[in-house]
Symmetry: C2
Subunit: 493 residues, 2 copies
C-alpha cells in the first residue's frame, strides 16, 4: 500500500482519492486540478486560487524559478509557500519540457531534487526525457532507459518529507508505457505523471492519449496516484478520469485567457465569436460578451482567466460527484459528443473495458443506455462473463419482455439488450435494472446476441430457443446454428 | 408575415427570434424562458428575475389572481406590472390546466380575455381544453373542436395591444396536432403554445413530445412563435429548441427548490445526494452542499431556486449561442445522453430530418460527426437529395480518402461517411468539410452506402465502381447489384 495515497471510492477507472502531502501538511482530494503558476506572471494570485476557487494544490516550474535571479533568491530564503502566498500543496515541475524544447541543461538528478527541496517544494519532479509520440522504437527505448536510470537515482536520494514524482514515458508504444509504469511502480517514488502526452492532446489525439494512459495504468498498481501531465482542457477531464487519472494540471486557463479564448466543456470559443455567455460563473453572470470585450487588456485577461478556472474546477466537482453517484460513464457519454476526436477517445476507452471492469463497482444507481457506445461498457462485458457461471436447465426459452415460454421449456429467461439473457431472479440487480431507450439500436441487439451466443457456447447440451422481436438478420446470423429462433413480432401480427 | 415575431437566425429547427410585445413596450429575444410566478408565493421576486437573471418575460396565472380577493383588487387597480414589480413582458395563463384538474369554471372566452386585459396582461390566453395524451380519437377531436371555437371567438375580440395566444391541442394524434396548428395559424392570434405536453414530460415521453411539437409545427407557419407549454426542465430545452420551440416556461425552478431538488442539464439531483456542487453559479461558488443543507428552510429554498434559475437561464444562453454558431445539434447530441428517454427524443427528432432540413442553413462552421445518430442529421439527408441533381460522367470511380482511379474511369469522386459520394470540387463546402472520427461506425458507412445507392439509382446508365476500405458485408449488400466493388484494404495487404 502506497502511504501517500488512498482510494476512497471508484467508478469505472475513476476514483476519489486522498493524496497526503506531508511537507505541506495537507491532504488533497483527487481528482484534483493543479493550476499552473508562472512565478513571473500571475493572472490569478495563488491566494485567490485557494480562497475563491478552492485550489488545494498548484504546480510551478522550478526551471523558471532557478533561472530568475530575484525569484530564486527569495524562494531559497523564504520558501515557495511564502513566495507564492499559497496555503495548499505545491508541486514543482523539473522543467523537462523546456529542456526538450530549448536543449539540454547540465545538472544532475541530485542537484535538481536538491534545488526543489531547498525552495520548499512539496512534490518534486526529476528531470526525465519526455519522448514525443511516433518516434522510432529505438529512440523511445533509449530515452526510457535514461528516464528510468534517473528515477532509480531519485529513489535513492533522501528527500525527507518531500514527495517525488516518477514520470512514465514510452512514447506511443503501449508495451513501453506499460513497462515504464511497472518500473516506476517498483520504486518508492510517490506520484506518477504520464509524461509527454501534451503533443497528443495538442493534436486532439485523445484515442492515442487513452491508449498511453491505459498502458501506463496496466503497469502501475491501482494504488498509484496518476497525473495526466499537461492536461489543460476541461473537455477531456471526465474521459481521462474514467481511465484512472487523478491529477490534472492546467496552464490553459491563463494561456487561453491571454488570447481571448473562453473555455467550455464543449470546446474553446473565441471571445469575439460569443454573443451570449454559456456559463453562470460570477464573471459570466455579471458581464455580457460586449462588457468583456470592452475591458482593458489586463482586466479582460483576468476576467477570462477567472471564468476559465471556474469552468475547470466546476468540471472537477462534476466528475467527483459522478464518481460518488456511480455515473461517471454517463458524463463521459456527454463529453464524447464535444468533438469527433473525443468520440474516438471514448471508443478507445471502451477498448479497455476488460481492464476497467476489474475496478468498477458491482452495483450502482442505474445503468443508463444512452448511445451505441453504451453497449460496450464494462458492465455489459461483466454480465457476459457471468453468463459462463450461471446454471441452466436442459431446455431454456430466452425472450425479450415478459412473455413466458409455456410448458415446453424447463425455464424462461429474459433477454434485455444490450446485456443478453438472464434468469428473471436477477432482474432487480445491477446492471439489469438498466434504463434503456424505447428505440433500441443494432449495437444493443448485437451485444444481446453476443450474450446469447456466450450462454449457448458455455452450455452445449442445453436446448436454447430465442424469442426475439424482429432482430435484424445479420445480428441473428451471429448466433450459433442450433439456437432455435422465434420472431415474436411475426406472432403478434 | 406575423407582425409580432421576426426570425433573425436559424439552425436546424431552432431560431433566434424577436417577439415584440407592444403592450409592455418590450422586445423579447427568443428562445426565451418565462419563469412562472405565483403571485401568492414568490421565492425569487420578479424584480430580481429581471435584474439578476435577465428575465425579459414571465408568466403568471390569471385564475389564481382571479381567485384571490386582495390580489385581484390590486391587479385591477394598479395592473400586473405594478403588482409584481416587473419591467418586462407579462404573459398570463388562463388557468385551463387548473380547470382540467379541478372541474369546469363557468366563464366565457370574452370574460376570460377581458379579465386578463383588465389586469394588464401583455399576452393573454383563452381557456382551451388541454386534452391529455392517449385519449380516444373521438374525445381528442371533440375537445379540439371546442378549443378551436374558442380561438375563433378570441380572434374576433378586440384586445387592443394585448397579444393573445392560440393553444394547439390534439392529444397524441399527429394529424390532429397538425390540423390544430394549421387552424391556429389561420387566425390573427399571436403566440402558439403546444398544449397539454406536461403529462408527456412528466412521464419522460420526450419521443412523443417531439412528435407532438413536430406535428404542430407542420401546421403552423415558420413565422409562428411556438411556446412549449409547461416545459420546465433545462435538460430538454436544446432538444425542444431544435424542433422549433421558442418559448419555455419554468415553474420547476421554484417547485423543485421547495423539495430540495437541484437542477442540472444532466437531470435532477436531490440536495441530500450531493457531495459536490457541479455548477459555478453565484450560489454554488459560495456554498458547499453542507452549507446549503444547514440553511434554514426559507433560505435553502431561495438558494436552490436561485441555482435552478441560473442553470436554466445558462442553458437558454447556451442554446442561443449554439444557434448563432450553427452547432445546436451538437448540443442536442450531448443532452441526448442525459437519459435514455432523451435519446429516444433525439432519435425521434431525427425522424423529422426532412422537415428540419428545410429551415437549416446551407452553410455553417463545421459538421461534427459525434455519434451513430449524426448519420441521420438533416445535412446528410440534404446531401443525398443533392446527389440526384449532380451531373455524372459515363464511368465513375468512388473512393474513400484521396486514392484516385487511374485512367480507366472518366472521373473519380470521394466517398466520405456518412455523406456518401461527391465530386472533389465540393470538398471545401459545407457539410463536406465535416470533422469525423478516425474510428468510423456502421451507421456512417450505411449512410454513405445509401448515398452511393441514390447516385446509382439516379444515373442508371453510368458505370459506377466503389473502392471501399473493408465495409461490412451487410452494408455492401444494400448497394444495387451492378455497382462494382473493390476492397482497397485487401489491395493494401
Ligand atoms: Mg486518432
Ligand atoms: Mg417512448
Ligand atoms: Zn463563466
Ligand atoms: Zn449553481
Amino acid at each position: 500500500m502506497r502511504e501517500c495515497f488512498e482510494v476512497r471510492d471508484t467508478d469505472v477507472g475513476g476514483r476519489i482519492g486522498e493524496l497526503t502531502v506531508p511537507r505541506a501538511d495537507v491532504t488533497v482530494e483527487t481528482p484534483a486540478l493543479l493550476p499552473v503558476i508562472n512565478p513571473n506572471l500571475d493572472t490569478i494570485s495563488p491566494r485567490r486560487l485557494a480562497d475563491e476557487f478552492g485550489a488545494e494544490i498548484l504546480i510551478t516550474n522550478s526551471y523558471i524559478i532557478h533561472g530568475t535571479d530575484d525569484v530564486r533568491e527569495q524562494a531559497l530564503e523564504d520558501g515557495l509557500h511564502d513566495l507564492l502566498d499559497f496555503p495548499g500543496a505545491i508541486m514543482t515541475d523539473s522543467g523537462s519540457f523546456q529542456l526538450s524544447e530549448y536543449g539540454e541543461i547540465d545538472v544532475t538528478t541530485e542537484e535538481i531534487l536538491e534545488f526543489q527541496h531547498a525552495i520548499g517544494s512539496d512534490i518534486a519532479t526529476p528531470v526525465d526525457i519526455p519522448t514525443p509520440p511516433d518516434v522510432s522504437r529505438e529512440r523511445a527505448e533509449d530515452e526510457l532507459a535514461t528516464t528510468q536510470e534517473r528515477l532509480e537515482i531519485a529513489d535513492e536520494i533522501d528527500t525527507g518529507e518531500m514527495l517525488v514524482s516518477a514520470p512514465v514515458q514510452g512514447s506511443t508504444y503501449p508495451d513501453l508505457r506499460e513497462a515504464a509504469g511497472r518500473h516506476a511502480d517498483g520504486t518508492d517514488l510517490d506520484v506518477f505523471p504520464v509524461g509527454a502526452v501534451v503533443p497528443l492532446m495538442n493534436d486532439y489525439r485523445y484515442d492515442d492519449m487513452i491508449d498511453a494512459v491505459a498502458a501506463a495504468k496496466r503497469g502501475l498498481g491501482a494504488d498509484a496516484p496518476v497525473h495526466l501531465f499537461g492536461a489543460g482542457h476541461p473537455m477531456m477531464f471526465a474521459l481521462a478520469a474514467a481511465m484512472g487519472c487523478d491529477l490534472f494540471d492546467s496552464a490553459a486557463y491563463a494561456l487561453y485567457a491571454r488570447d481571448d479564448r473562453y473555455l467550455t466543456v464543449r470546446g474553446t470559443r473565441h471571445l469575439e465569436d460569443l454573443e451570449y455567455l454559456p456559463c453562470s460563473c460570477p464573471v459570466c453572470t455579471t458581464h455580457s460578451p460586449e462588457d468583456l470585450r470592452a475591458l482593458p487588456d489586463d482586466a479582460r485577461e483576468e476576467a477570462l482567466a477567472a471564468h476559465n478556472l471556474h469552468v475547470t474546477f466546476e468540471e472537477i466537482r462534476r466528475i467527483k460527484q459522478a464518481i460518488r453517484a456511480g455515473n461517471l460513464l454517463e458524463l463521459v457519454e456527454q463529453r464524447a459528443r464535444a468533438h469527433p476526436t473525443m468520440l474516438d477517445g471514448y471508443r478507445t476507452l471502451l477498448d479497455h473495458a476488460a481492464h476497467l471492469e476489474r475496478a468498477d463497482p458491482v452495483s450502482k444507481g442505474a445503468f443508463f443506455y444512452t448511445s451505441h457506445e453504451s453497449a460496450r461498457r464494462p458492465e455489459v462485458l461483466r454480465h457476459h462473463q457471468r453468463l459462463d457461471r450461471l446454471s441452466v436447465p436442459d431446455s431454456l426459452f430466452l425472450t425479450e419482455g415478459d412473455a413466458a415460454g409455456g410448458d415446453e421449456f424447463d425455464e424462461s429467461w429474459r433477454v434485455e439488450p444490450p446485456f443478453g439473457p438472464f434468469p428473471r431472479a436477477l432482474s432487480k440487480s445491477y446492471p439489469l435494472t438498466a434504463e434503456v431507450p424505447d428505440r433500441t439500436d443494432r449495437a444493443a441487439l448485437a451485444a444481446a446476441a453476443d450474450g446469447v451466443a456466450r450462454l449457448v457456447d458455455s452450455n452445449p447440451d442445453t436446448e436454447i430457443t430465442l424469442g426475439h422481436t424482429g432482430w435484424p438478420a445479420d445480428v441473428l446470423e451471429t448466433l450459433p446454428d442450433h439456437v432455435e429462433l422465434i420472431d415474436l413480432t411475426a406472432d403478434r401480427a
